[in-house]
């Protein structure tokens, strides 16, 4: 289809407008808002959709508001090779006219409803509605990516180009396969539905079967255990029976030998008693011998220790006397040392006081100099404070003087100079204004002669004779005023400098320089005198140390504060020295302090050295005496300790001797010394007799094997007890196992196991069936899906190639796209970065939408059913760089078909080459 012209009359805001459109190429229809650009598109749609008698709201809406007129549209177009002129008028004077020029030159016309039907038939026959909707982009729809899968011309084109027909006939199968797949699997490929349930059921049944099998295995194990236990029990019972017979035999044998053993036990008891008695007597004898020896030894020791004690006490007494003598000598030396120490102290104090006195004298001299310097500084300060003249003022005065001289010269040159001389006797009176007689004053009555410069008025009056008035003219007043101003300025400066004239000021300036130099010198002297601090502080300290007071200081401070106008002798630091200070030796007056004689301090220092030497001698003596006394004390202490130990040892020996004697006496009281040996011999004989009897009995027992019989019986009984215990354990185990087995029989564990296995087999069989079906469904789903994807890729290739070809002219060679099943662009790759179209920027989306439409248009352009591409306001989201590339693209698109762009922003399309611009005037 090609659109050639559209004429709108009484259509919305358009009174009458015809727009001619080139049949091929890109046309940009430019117009401001509300001029009816969108109405062109709307009119084209309405003329085919609504008959002239339609009362649709859409038709009513196109009638201009408030005008009872008939909206009318005429379209000229080519459709299926025929040229159509189609006119329709609605609401008033309704009419439809259609004229068709066939390719062979025949012309046909229709009117009314027939015209409408024929036009509609032709439109439907040659214009695919999906393609038409896809390529006509209404206002605000430029961002929407087209989904042109159902556009028949496109399908024809891609099928023809790719050689792959669209497989629409298989869709029911595809859906059935997907449905079958989803019966067993989720979209993510996990089992679902009955299939998933059966898998879980198999797991549960396996668990149940395993538990049942385990229970039965335990039963079987119990049966084996019970069989073993029964066998073991039989065997053990048999052994026990045999063993009990042996026990009985041993018991009879033992009864026969028991009498001999009883007798042997009796003799054994007696032998034990006799042996104990003998041991007792032997112990008594040994103890007696030990006691006798001990008493003898202790007696000898006691005598020796008493002798040693006596000697030690004598030595200790002598040592104590030696200590006493040493301590008396030490006391004398201490007294001598203390005396020497007192002498040294007196000498040290004398030297210190003489040193302080010498420093005080030096400081008093320094302080007097400082007072003098400070007086000079104060005096210079006062002079400088009173002077108001400086170099700037003198320079200003010099300038002012020059201006006065200059003004006065100008006045003299510019005003009359009157010379008046009295020649008669009559009084000549002078008066007037602006008179200047130089340095002389103009007298009221003239005595001799005078020259007067008249800048105002001069009246010369000779009373009764004549009155002469001289009146200055011209610039006299101005000259006079300048002179006055210069004089006033000079006077102000003199007043500020408090000087009479310029010469006085210069003189005063010279004086100031002199005083300033003196002040600098005085300050340097003051700094050197106070470099080590103010001497007054050190003087105060020394006075305090020497016991001299300086109470006049505060009074002097007060006076100096009140006498700043006469800073003469009143200087801080000047003091009255009081002469009283106390010392251990007594009190004396400062005035009486004798002046230091030369050599007095040296004599005192020599006395001090002597005192120190004598003290050192005394301390050496003391050290020797202390050493001697310590030695004596140590020796005495050792001797005293030795004596004490000797006494203790002696006393201990006495006590031990007494105890030994007491023990011996007690033993003798029990058994006299002479009976001890006899008793021991008697007990020995008794033991020998009993042992002989025991030997005889033991021989008899050995002869009949009495001891073995008892042991054998005891062993046999122990074995019998153990066997009985084992039998009981086996019997209990067997009973327990049999009990368990009976319980398992009651529980029907075997049946349970078989039921569980039956159930498991059934569930497994069902699951296997489901799994076979599920696997088959998956296999079909995957296989079909893969083939469909391959077909889709091949099918969409022509459109994809077109889009990429166009897109690369805008974005460069890395531009790629992927299409989905609806042939819509799903993803875009640029510079290796692949994105879903939803993730692209608004501008990129709009550009991609335009590129896709141009690609579709290009693809279908060779067929009979191509349609114009219409953009109603687009490229609103693109930057200038992209506008240039997109413009070029839109221009090239016109080479293959009709591209119509409606816009109110023509600058967006200024880069479209070879475009036809049509301006719609409002």
């Amino acid at each position: 289809m090609r659109l050639h012209s559209l004429t709108l009359r009484n259509f919305r805001g358009v009174k009458d407008r015809t727009v001619e459109l080139p049949a091929i190429g890109t046309t940009v229809v430019v117009g401001d808002n509300e001029v009816g650009k969108s109405s062109l598109v709307e009119a084209f749609a309405l003329i085919f959709d609504y008959p002239d008698d339609s009362k649709s709201k859409r038709i009513i809406d196109i009638q201009p508001v408030g005008q009872d007129v008939a909206p009318e549209v005429t379209a000229q177009l080519t459709l299926g090779g025929r040229e159509l002129t189609y006119t329709k008028r609605w609401l008033k004077n309704k009419a439809t006219e259609l004229t068709i020029l066939e390719p062979d030159g025949r012309r046909q016309s229709w009117t009314g409803r027939e015209a409408h039907n024929e036009a509609e038939r032709l439109f439907n026959e040659h214009v695919d509605p999906v393609l038409w909707q896809t390529l006509m982009v209404s206002q605000g729809q430029s961002l929407v990516l087209p989904t042109p899968a159902d556009a028949e011309p496109l399908i024809t084109a891609v099928t023809a180009e790719s050689g792959t027909p669209v497989d629409g006939a298989s869709m029911p199968l595809v859906l059935a396969v997907e449905h079958e797949y989803l019966r067993y699997w989720t979209k993510g490929g996990r089992p679902t539905g009955d299939f998933a349930k059966s898998a879980k059921a198999v797991e549960a049944a396996e668990l149940t079967a395993a538990q049942a099998l385990k229970a039965m295995d335990e039963v079987v194990a119990d049966i084996r255990r019970a069989e073993r236990l029964a066998l073991d029990l039989d065997e053990l019972s048999s052994r026990l029976t045999d063993h009990l017979k042996t026990v009985e035999e041993l018991r009879e044998r033992k009864q026969a030998t028991d009498e001999i053993l009883l007798r042997r036990d009796s003799v054994r008891a007696r032998a034990e008693t006799a042996r104990a008695r003998l041991e007792n007597h032997t112990r008594t004898r040994v103890e007696r011998e030990r006691l006798l020896a001990e008493v003898e030894k202790l007696t000898q020791t006691d005598a020796e220790l008493a002798e040693r004690r006596k000697d030690a006490e004598t030595v200790a007494k002598k040592a104590a006397e030696t200590v006493h003598a040493a301590e008396a000598a030490l006391a004398e030396v201490i007294e001598l040392r203390d005396e020497r120490r007192g002498d040294l102290h007196v000498a040290e104090r004398l030297v210190a006081r003489l040193t302080d006195r010498a420093e005080l004298d030096r400081l008093l001299v320094q302080q007097t100099e400082l007072v003098d310097v400070r007086a000079r500084i104060a005096s210079a300060g006062l002079v400088l404070d009173g002077v108001k003249v400086d170099e700037a003022l003198v320079a200003a005065l010099e300038d002012a003087r020059a201006r006065v001289v200059e003004a006065r010269a100008a006045l003299a040159a510019g005003v009359p100079e009157v010379s008046v001389r009295r020649v008669g006797a009559e009084a000549v009176r002078l008066s007037g204004t602006g008179l200047d007689a130089g340095s002389a004053k103009v007298p009221d009555e003239l005595e001799g002669e005078i020259q007067v410069l008249v800048s105002g008025e001069l009246v010369i009056d000779v009373p009764g004779q004549i009155e002469v008035k001289v009146q200055a003219g011209g610039e006299a007043a101005t000259l006079r005023s300048r002179l006055d101003e210069a004089v006033r300025l000079e006077q102000d400066l003199l007043k500020r400098g408090r000087v009479k004239d310029l010469a006085a000021a210069r003189e005063l300036l010279r004086k100031v320089d002199t005083v300033s130099a003196e002040l600098q010198e005085a300050r340097r002297t003051e700094r050197s005198l106070t470099a080590n601090g103010d001497p007054s502080e050190r003087i105060t300290l020394l006075c305090a140390r020497l016991g001299v007071s300086s109470t006049g200081e505060e009074e002097e401070e007060t006076k100096s504060a009140g006498k700043r106008q006469a800073p003469v002798e009143d200087v801080p630091g000047q003091m009255s020295l009081f002469s009283q200070f106390e010392e251990e030796e007594g009190t004396f007056d400062f005035e009486d302090l004798p002046a230091l004689e030369g050599g007095e301090l040296g004599a005192a220092e020599r006395s001090l050295e002597n005192a120190r030497a004598e003290l050192a001698v005394a301390e050496r003596l003391l050290s020797d005496a202390e050493f001697a006394a310590a030695q004596a004390r140590k020796a005495a202490e050792e001797d005293r300790s030795e004596a004490q130990q000797a006494r203790a040892r002696s006393e201990l020996a006495e006590e031990r001797l007494a105890a030994a004697v007491e023990a011996l006496d007690a033993a003798r009281a029990v058994l006299a010394d002479e009976n001890v040996d006899a008793e021991e011999e008697k007990a020995t004989a008794e033991v020998e007799a009993v042992l002989e009897e025991l030997t005889a009995v033991q021989a008899q027992a050995d002869e009949v094997g009495a001891d073995e019989a008892a042991g054998l019986l005891a062993d046999a009984l122990a074995v019998a007890t153990r066997l009985q215990g084992e039998r009981d354990v086996l019997r209990d185990s067997l009973r327990t196992t049999e009990g368990r087995l009976e319980q398992s029989g009651r529980d029907g564990l075997g049946t349970r196991r078989e039921l569980a296995e039956l159930e498991l087999a059934a569930i497994r069989a069902e699951h296997e069936g489901l799994k076979r079906r599920a696997d088959a469904a998956r296999r079909v789903f995957d296989t079909l899906g893969r083939h469909r994807a391959e077909a889709q890729t091949k099918y969409s290739e022509p459109l994809q190639t077109r889009i990429e070809s166009l897109g690369r002219s805008v974005y460069g060679p890395s531009f790629k796209v992927w299409l989905d099943d609806d042939l819509a662009v799903a993803e875009r790759e640029l510079d290796g970065k692949r994105l879903r179209v939803e993730a692209l920027s608004t501008g990129a989306q709009e550009q991609l939408a335009i590129i896709t439409r141009l690609a579709i248009s290009h693809l279908v352009s060779t067929g009979d059913n191509s349609v114009p591409v219409i953009f109603d306001d687009a490229l609103g989201w693109s930057d200038k760089g992209r506008l240039r590339d997109m413009g070029a693209l839109l221009g090239r698109a016109g080479d293959h078909g009709q591209v119509i762009i409606l816009t109110c922003m023509p600058e967006r399309y200024e880069y479209v080459p070879r475009a036809t611009f049509i301006k719609l005037e409002s």
Partner: protein, 376 residues
């Protein structure tokens, strides 16, 4: 034959047995059928005038059957009006925890039922001694029949002696038995020297005559398709030097194994005919083996037919080990579906995979064929 005596010989009731291929419903009905068969033994006893009934082992499936099985067995035994002698076999050995010593059995067993617990001869009726060799363990160490007769002297004159034993005969086991077998020669010697007049054996489920006086009675109700003559009870009549053994059928179920070659529509119709001709379908289990290859439509038809028969019969089991029917799709099958594009390509890929030996592709192909046919 005034001195003759008639008794019934049965064995391997294996009450409580389960068969997974029957499914829950079939299992319940088959278990009841095994009890019904026991009750029919009572009818045969009455009809033949049998003086007593001996059951030579494996009365129960195992010693841990559920209480219900024991109590129902006791009820069935009550329907036999003559004395019944039961011999513990390998399944219900007289081992520790055996059901024979349990309160469930001793508390409910009918008074006319005797369990052989030792090898002492028992005069069950005057002039007839029954000796048994009960299994005391599931793993005997020697000939399980020997203890029953090894120390016997020849029977006193006028006394007929019957040995009850359980186990495989050395001659019939083919050396495959993993437990000691019964020495047939020794048994025959005992018969020949007059110590025994009849040997009733159990363990073999098919009725089998070993010698004139040595018989396996077989199970009262079939338990597997491999059994040749199951479902019988033997009526044994002993006279003076004579013996007559007559099998009476008491079973009601059938277990059938069938192998089919399936290659075309005709072979499927033959299979349909096989099913149609089987009697008592609700009491019949069919184990079906098949091989061959079928076009996809016929394969679908086969699946539908076998599924439908499974509803009619007690159970129809495809014997997985011997079921090798493969789809054999040809171009005509696929053309008939009028598929094109990716669908056609996918189906073709599956067909080639199957042809290349990919078994799983067969199921996928069959499914896809069905879906395409239904969708079309």
């Amino acid at each position: 034959m005034e001195d003759s005596i008639t008794f019934l010989h049965s064995s391997d009731w294996q009450l409580g047995m389960m068969r997974r291929f029957l499914g829950p419903d079939g299992q319940a009905r088959w278990a009841q059928a095994r009890l019904d068969a026991v009750m029919r033994i009572g009818d045969v006893a009455k009809a033949t005038g049998a003086a007593f009934v001996v059951v030579t082992g494996d009365v129960f499936e195992h010693n841990q059957v559920e209480r219900q099985t024991i109590l129902r067995a006791c009820e069935a035994l009550k329907r036999i009006e003559v004395p019944v002698v039961l011999l513990p076999g390998n399944h219900d050995a007289l081992e520790p925890g055996s059901l024979w010593t349990s309160a469930q059995w001793t508390g409910h067993a009918p008074s006319h039922v005797v369990v052989v617990t030792d090898t002492k001869p028992l005069e069950i009726v005057p002039g007839v001694e029954v000796v048994g060799a009960p299994w005391r363990s599931r793993r005997p160490l020697s000939d399980p029949a020997a203890p029953g007769y090894a120390e016997l002297a020849p029977a006193p004159p006028g006394v007929k002696r019957i040995l009850l034993a359980h186990g495989q005969l050395t001659s019939l086991s083919g050396g495959m038995s993993d437990v000691p077998t019964i020495d047939q020669a020794a048994l025959e010697a005992a018969v020949n020297d007059g110590r025994l007049h009849y040997v009733g054996l159990g363990d073999r489920h098919s009725t089998t005559e070993v010698t004139e006086r040595i018989w396996f009675s077989g199970t009262q109700e079939v338990t597997a398709p491999e059994e040749t003559h199951p479902g019988n009870v033997l009526a044994v009549t002993l006279g003076e030097g004579t013996i007559e053994v007559e099998p009476h059928h008491v079973g009601a179920w059938h277990m059938v194994e069938h192998h089919a070659e399936l290659d075309d529509e005709e072979s499927i119709r033959a299979l349909e005919d096989f099913f149609a001709e089987l009697p008592e379908k609700e009491r019949t289990y069919v184990r079906l083996a098949a091989d061959g290859s079928l076009p996809l439509p016929l394969l679908s038809q086969l699946d539908a037919m076998v599924d439908a028969q499974g509803e009619v019969f007690a159970s129809v089991e495809r014997w997985a080990k011997f079921w090798t029917v493969r789809p054999a799709p040809d171009a005509a099958d696929l053309d008939a579906l009028q598929l094109s594009g990716p669908a056609r390509a996918a189906m073709e890929e599956l067909r080639q995979a199957l042809a290349g030996g990919d078994e799983t592709a067969g199921a996928a192909l069959t499914l896809m064929h069905r879906l395409a046919r239904d969708a079309g």
